[in-house]
Symmetry: C2
């Protein structure tokens, strides 16, 4: 289109809401308001296509565009009965307006058309020379700043000098003559800084402003914003030119902003502020205190009635809560702008549910009105938005929720203090599986290194703990018990707060608001439950997690990671004994210690999930994760060797180092883990299965009906049919032994995790043995893409996202073309062998709305996610139905 | 069949060669010989089905089988005119005979049917009581050993005592009476050890022997052999019962073994030995020296003529060189056994080619007669088979060929000595990329750790250097300059030899035979070239490799790994500078140093490959591989900190440690490598492409026609279309700049390695940019199976292979169901977008015959393998056509 001639400019009355692409958000909105008969000051929109054409022409406005602008100016003059640069002057506002609003774009220019001549006409018309001069100096200041690129401080200096000279405190106290002098000074600055005169031809002003809007599309801030938000560069921005109306002509005039409901709570009460005899800037500047909108009922009852009516009309038309800018000019109400109001998660839920109750929207629409990710806010403690905060630094918002606590560097110490009911914050450069007990004990986690998918982030999200990661301003000197934020020293034990939703790190304690699941929240989710086809299960490793998951609506456990049970501080030494055992006998002794611990955990989990399916994954991670730190051990051995003291100790440490080295792997992600462990050490899996079934038997003996226990035993990291066949036998044998001794029948399923590309390719073979597949999309993403999550985050992935090589972080949103395609192949092959095979997914993607949409469309039976993501998944699953 | 009644026993005359499955190899062979009229002593075969049925019946011989054996005994009696246990006694041999011959199975029992009664009849018939007694004592000894499980040493002791008593040196000197006494003693031992009498009922002897054969199918040695060679357990063994003939009746009798051609060289001369008046054991025992078969022409001209005739008949019938056992009984020739002769690689090639020349077989058959892997022997130096060796230890035969040299632990030292023309052997616990220059300098590599796919093994194979890996008996104490083999101390500098084909580690120098490519070798390969559809290219990284590859028949280079060029000792510091550069400018300075080095390499390679395509892969491995060892650095920093001396040095080392740590990755295989490097540091790829095209331009300027330079630039580790598009632009820009300056046109292709499952799934998208795909099946295997090659080999893979969880090492033989399925998907998708896309494979599988068969059937255009695998690949590709 851009290379051809066409309609580059639309009057508001010519457009409509659907033309957002061409007119931008603001332009389409003004057009729509005009169309439905709302009182909008007349104006026109220069299209986004014109913006693109402008760039294609080397940033030039071409004759056809110029002509169309002129024609529309003439229309405006006619409509308002004014003339541009004339005696009854037409003044206009010029605003940018892209399809998606974004920061960094050129701001509004008001009162364009003012010149030394028209300013006097305005003074006469308003009978207020001070107002006219103030408009003029504001216009010059803004135009010079955003169009002529004159630094703003020059103008601020002049104003400051003038205030000083007049011995007043505020600009409002300057008189008309003062402002006239200010204008003269401003014009001198422009002359000095730009080498030319300020343009006093209104048409020149307008064309320069239009160019400035177009140019701002490619300014650095907007460009970065688009990169981050993956907004295409060729959307372009529109330009809106609109006749000015004045809220400051008299006391029958005014200006204000309002929401049709509370944007904080969603309460159905008009909420906003207005000022009589004022312009919009006065509200923003905070010189005069605006008054709550309710007071307008007394002050301007007619206008208020009209306003309430407009609000009703707007909500009825847009079928959503609106955010409105309005001006009253001499007793006449003008709506300058309306848009769907930004709102808190709480308000989003309440408004959506209320609109259903009011009969404005359907339940399905209500489900589409709430972004699932928003719900996260409602499920976690948050910082009181009213509180004054001393923000020291920002990190990555890695796990939502807010926490306050004493800074502790050491996970053991964290556990110790927590057991004394001291609230602690675990602060480390990064965390490892050795720190799990510390994370569990802490209120939250703060790290100086690592990204959104670092160990700390993943574990914290899994546990529902607030976490701020990769806070680079933070340096820790654990040896000295100190930490530094931007060079400032603090001692361990200092109280910090973190906000995992924003990444803020705050000094001292802050007031926190507990999450509250409102009736509307529950109602909305009940509608989602009725709508969705996907079941939602939880990834839960402890009885506490399981109970929480049920509370949040889980329909079972999709992933219980038994290795997390091994990570308890009390158990790690026993696990180490098991790993380092030289003989089967030694290993069995260690396992005999672990068995009752595991059994108790399983019992608690199964009890919490009575009647619901529980998928338990047998041991998965590399064994060496449970072993001591290799570098520390190396240094210790080196020291012992040098000192030559305790030979016995040296020998013992050397031996340990050898074992740690022997167990170390070049690429542990691709190493001796998952069922590969179970195959080489079947006794470990056998012990785990024994513990599971002993737990089940005890529950039955305690009165739970056997059919209420729905066990699904899952074998991890299977790639070959023979692996699964052998492991299934181990499971069946161990289960049979327990059940036989108990004289009990207890049906259960055996299935496998699908987390290797090979497993997808041979899923037909695996389904011979597997009664269910659970897609482990975390690992499947790693192997399919060849990305180590631990490494990619800190190395090339940020670069990839910044440069749009990847559309999204594949560990957050499932990669449909690669991983997704493999999932589809595996599903198809699996079903070919076993049509009724149960199919689910238990990677972190199970809690990601975009991924859930895919899993729904692919036809999985369930997703499984961490407990706090369950409401999100329930809503996302319903939305997937509606979008599909 | 086993559960039903049926024919469990076949007379030789009833069977034929095709019944190998049922009759076993030996039985089918005897049947076939009988069928074609060769003089075979009569006999019968108890089938493999009977063996399986025997096991199903709990190791019992059942009435139907017993009856069929009896019937066949009767037939034997009739045929020979003798009777079992009678006055003119029938004696039989009992032999095992599975479909595939294997060690550990029960050996032959001769002269079964001898009893105190029949032994006298035999003495009378042969007029040789000593012979009869000797038969008897041998029979008892063997029967007692293999059937009654009496330890052999008891009998050896008795013989020794008897010799001492008679004051003779050998058993041959014992007289008939002595042997009669020995028999008495033997029988006593049997009575004492088994608690029962030695069975003197010939039928009981026979049935016990049959059971013993069946039982030996499941003895440990056979079981392990089947595991290793992946032979199914339910093949079962047959039992052959055959009338005895005697080569020791008189001087018109004799026995011998012969090959119809030389098994060492393939020369078409009957080759073998015989002894007159002797039994087979006499040949084996070495008491009398057998005589070359040629002498038979003088000694027994009639028989010799008959024998030559039989040889001719056998070769004509079996259409291959035969290995024959024969006996002459009283002037009558009997063929006891014939089989396709085992032969050296050299003989295999010569025999195959000669048989074609003789019109016996077709060229196609000749190609099927030589196992491609055998050719390896012909391409490497080997140890003179005549040499006496002092074998100290065994390791894994990791890379074929033999080498002798002074032991050197340090790669730098190896390079130094090699430059002084000292032959060295690099001996290390394991190697890393830091050692490449040392491997290159050495005659061969010996390591104490690591498997067939360890770094040392892979690199050595790539370079065609002999290598023995994982020699656990070897301990190295580099600090002391000592090494130990089985506790024995040796000094660095000691001369060792290794045999990479067998894993032998030998003390001192050994005589080596240089490889020689015979005319027959070349002829066979020329037939292969005419037959095959797959092109064969080389993986070659240096001009030397390229030249060698051409000599061995390469039709281009399929993989030139530019990172190997970086690993030269002189270059590593420059590469480190490049990696550690803090700024682009620093990096560019380092690259400017590298550019001319790379250019010279490319020039040499392109020159060697004039007229042939050359695929050059841009930099691939993780950068941290080029950095110093982290543990050593850690200890150094620790030491410097303690000593507190040179603060400057400490700072510098600390900084280096930080960088090494920062570059270190949890899973480098899945880390920041391949095109991920090229994307973040496009200047590196740009430099490499510049070097490539500068090399090409120089060659053109030196007179090589531009169309003779066929460049294919390959981008590694691509998973997303956007990666390839960006990298292709970098390539095109750099190439265009060089060509423009030179004023030259030079067509080239840009393609990608397919080594990630995701790349396979989006191959249609990749083919938009890629003009060729080269499957990197090494990495594709790692990601598809989720195996780290470095780790799997030393951890679970041996267990997996031993327990048949995997049918083969997937790094040796391509995994068809997983990796192969992905390759097929990628090919199909790639062709959909670009029907003429070039498709090849450049993983190590490119040199594996079984994998080549798959690549052929999948429809690839070429395979690429290390130079020494090229003849193997050429042959395998031809055989793939024939087998398809």
């Amino acid at each position: 289109m851009s290379g051809q001639s066409g309609q580059w400019v639309y009057r508001f009355a010519e457009g409509r809401a659907e033309m957002k692409n061409l007119l931008g958000g603001k332009g389409a909105n003004l057009a729509e308001m005009s169309r439905v008969g709302l009182p909008v000051p007349p104006g026109f929109t220069i299209t986004t296509a014109a913006c693109n054409a402008y760039y294609e022409r080397g940033r030039q406005i071409w004759p056809e565009l110029a002509q169309q602008i002129e024609e529309n100016l003439a229309y405006l003059e006619k409509e308002t009965g004014r003339s541009f640069g004339g005696d009854k002057p037409l003044l206009v506002s010029v605003r940018s307006g892209a399809m998606i609003s974004m920061p960094g774009m050129m701001d509004t220019i008001l009162n364009l058309g003012l010149t030394p001549k028209t300013v006097e006409a305005l003074a006469a018309e308003s009978s207020d020379r001070r107002f006219a001069m103030d408009c003029f100096r504001r216009f010059i200041q803004m135009f010079a700043d955003v169009v002529l690129k004159v630094e703003s401080y020059h103008f601020e200096n002049i104003l400051t000098e003038k205030r000083n000279a007049r011995n007043v405190r505020t600009d409002a106290e300057l008189q008309a003559e003062d402002l006239a002098e200010v204008v003269e000074e401003f014009l001198k600055v422009v002359r000095r800084e730009t080498g030319t005169e300020f343009p006093f031809d209104p048409r020149e002003q307008l064309f320069l402003a239009v160019k400035a809007v177009f140019d701002s599309w490619h300014n650095p801030r907007a460009t970065v914003y688009r990169q981050i938000n993956r907004i295409p560069d060729d959307l372009g921005t529109a330009v809106n030119v609109q006749a000015m109306v004045f809220g400051n002509l008299n006391n029958q005039s005014g200006t204000g902003v309002a929401f049709t409901r509370s944007p904080a709570t969603g309460e159905p009460v008009i909420y906003g502020e207005y000022l009589l005899n004022a312009q919009g800037e006065d509200v923003v500047a905070g010189i005069r205190t605006p008054r709550p909108i309710a007071e307008m009922a007394q002050e301007l009852p007619e206008i208020y009635k009209q306003f309430v009516d407009v609000c009703r009309k707007l909500e009825a038309h847009y079928r959503d809560m609106q955010d409105i800018e309005f001006t009253i000019e001499n007793g006449k109400l003008y709506i300058l702008q309306t848009r769907n109001a930004k709102r808190t998660a709480a308000a989003a839920v309440k408004v959506a549910v209320d609109l259903v109750r009011e009969g404005v929207i359907s339940k399905d629409e209500a489900l589409l009105r709430v972004e699932p990710d928003q719900l996260d806010q409602l499920l976690h403690r948050r910082i009181d938005p009213e509180a004054k905060l001393n923000v020291l630094a920002y990190g990555l918002p890695a796990s939502p929720g807010a926490a306050t606590g004493k800074v502790v560097f050491d996970p053991d110490r964290a556990q110790e203090l927590a057991s004394e009911n001291v609230a602690v914050l675990l602060v480390r450069s990064e965390t490892t599986p050795d720190d799990i007990h510390g994370i569990k004990a802490a209120q939250g986690v703060l790290t100086s290194r690592g990204g959104m998918t670092s160990h700390a982030a993943v574990v914290a999200r899994g546990m529902g703990k607030p976490c701020v990661c990769g806070c680079e301003a933070l340096k820790i000197d654990a040896a000295k018990g100190k930490f530094y934020i931007d060079g400032q020293e603090y001692a361990e034990g200092e109280v910090l707060s973190i906000d995992g939703a924003t990444g803020r790190v705050i000094l001292g304690e802050v007031p926190l608001i507990d999450p509250e699941l409102t009736p509307e929240f529950k109602e909305l989710l009940s509608w989602a439950d009725a709508k969705r086809r996907l079941r939602v299960r939880a990834n839960a490793d402890t009885p506490d997690d399981a109970a929480l998951a049920v509370e949040l609506g889980a329909e079972g456990i999709g992933l219980c990671r038994t290795e997390h049970m091994f990570m308890d501080k009390a158990r790690v030494p026993v696990v180490q004994k098991m790993i380092l055992a030289a003989t089967l006998k030694e290993r069995e002794a260690a396992m005999a210690e672990l068995l009752p611990m595991q059994k108790d955990d399983f019992k608690g989990i199964l009890q919490a999930m009575t009647g619901l399916p529980v998928t338990i994954r047998l041991l998965d991670p590399p064994l060496h994760e449970f072993l001591p730190n290799r570098e520390a051990l190396l240094l210790e051995v080196d020291r012992l060797r040098r000192e030559g003291g305790d030979g016995q100790l040296l020998l013992q440490r050397e031996e340990l180092l050898l074992k740690v080295r022997a167990l170390a792997e070049q690429n542990p992600m691709l190493g001796h883990r998952g069922c590969r462990l179970g195959l080489v050490y079947p006794e470990i899996y056998s012990m785990q299965v024994t513990a599971i079934f002993q737990a089940a038997v005890e529950l039955v003996n305690e009165g739970i009906a056997a059919e209420q226990i729905k066990l699904e035993i899952m074998i991890p990291l299977v790639g070959h049919g023979a692996e699964l066949a052998r492991m299934k036998k181990v499971v069946d044998d161990a289960a049979a032994a327990v059940l036989k001794e108990a004289g009990l029948e207890l049906p259960y399923l055996v299935g496998t995790m699908i987390e290797l590309p090979r497993a997808c390719m041979v899923a037909d073979e695996l389904a011979q043995e597997a009664e269910f597949f659970s897609f482990g999309t975390n690992d499947l993403t790693q192997t399919t893409l060849g990305y180590s999550r631990d490494d990619a985050e800190g190395k090339f992935l940020p670069f990839y996202l910044e440069h749009k090589i990847l559309p999204a972080n594949p560990f957050m949103e499932v990669d449909r073309d690669g991983v997704g395609a493999l999932v589809r192949i595996a599903m198809e092959k699996g079903r070919k062998t076993r049509p009724d095979i149960k199919l689910g997914i238990c990677g972190e993607h199970g809690g990601d709305p975009a991924s859930i949409e895919f899993f729904h469309s692919a036809g999985l039976h369930y997703v499984s996610c961490s407990p706090y993501r369950i409401p999100i998944a329930r809503l996302a699953a319903a939305r997937a139905v509606l979008k599909g």
